[in-house]
Amino acid sequence: MRELVLRARDGDAAAWTALVERHAETLWAVARSWRLGDADCADVVQLTWLRLVERLDTIQDPDAVGAWLVVTARREAARTARERGYEPLGATTAALPPPHDVVAAREQVCAVGTALRTLPRRCRDLLRLAALAPGQAELAAALDMPVGGLGPTRARCLQKLRRKLTP
């Protein structure tokens, strides 16, 4: 992480691409956890990267950039959600977006996809972010939870998912 940030600061576009590829899915999931639509999620992710570009020369702690990205995305998503009049994170109901194509539709009927759809929203977001976030600090930032609470909550949500998979 540190090396990628420092290389990007030196103008290395490949390092920047590697940063984007490592964190894009997490940032998308953060935006989605605020129930934003595609266009708003796209804006949140773009703004997050643009803000990083803007401060690339003044970053104090390159190792903390992952968590900074997540916090920034979370803040932008929260602001957008407020503007749209959405409820904050933690609401229990919300549909996932419709399938993007036939392959996705086929995948969706797979057991895990179906089970995820019936989980409480908080658990679904947590499992998604826990699976994607590069580290505990990023996950804690995405969920706005203390690091110590992550393990037990994740275990509870995994158990809920497992119960749905084995009726």
Partner: protein, 139 residues
């Protein structure tokens, strides 16, 4: 399935159900091209109180750099603002993918974009002493 396998299955399911769109990845990669080495970034500062002339849909934002203050009103996709100290200079809208709309400030430092495309943007002011760019906002 053990926990690791289950977590891997969760990732696969979300990738299939709600993948990051390719255009979002493209724009994120392209963001690196918006780096302006040498430009002075005007960071967001608290905007002055509204004077009550316009409706509640107007968002006020302000950006400050050493020797330059930019105040803006954003109403939907209309942006109007003022550069202080007042000077007539070119204003360019920066977008994630490159430069966009252009205009000039008038002698009073005022500028307006009646209908901008939606999405993140930043304004670039070509001042005599150098280039000032505002931090990013969204319309």
């Amino acid at each position: 399935m053990n926990d690791d396998e289950l977590v891997a299955a969760v990732v696969r399911a979300f990738r299939a159900m709600d993948p990051v769109p390719g255009r979002v990845l493209d724009a994120s990669r392209a963001a690196f091209g918006r780096r302006m080495v040498g430009a002075v970034v005007a960071g967001e500062v608290p905007a002055p109180e509204p004077v009550g002339m316009r409706g509640g849909e107007v968002r006020r934002v302000a950006f400050e750099a050493p020797g330059a203050l930019v105040e803006m009103e954003v109403a939907g996709r209309e942006v109007a603002g003022r550069l202080r100290p007042a000077v007539a200079v070119p204003v360019v809208v920066r977008r994630a993918g490159g430069d966009g709309e252009r205009t000039r400030t008038d002698a009073g430092g005022r500028f307006a974009f009646p209908e901008l495309a939606r999405g993140p943007l930043s304004l670039v002011f070509e001042l005599g002493a150098g280039t000032v760019v505002t931090s990013w906002i969204r319309v």
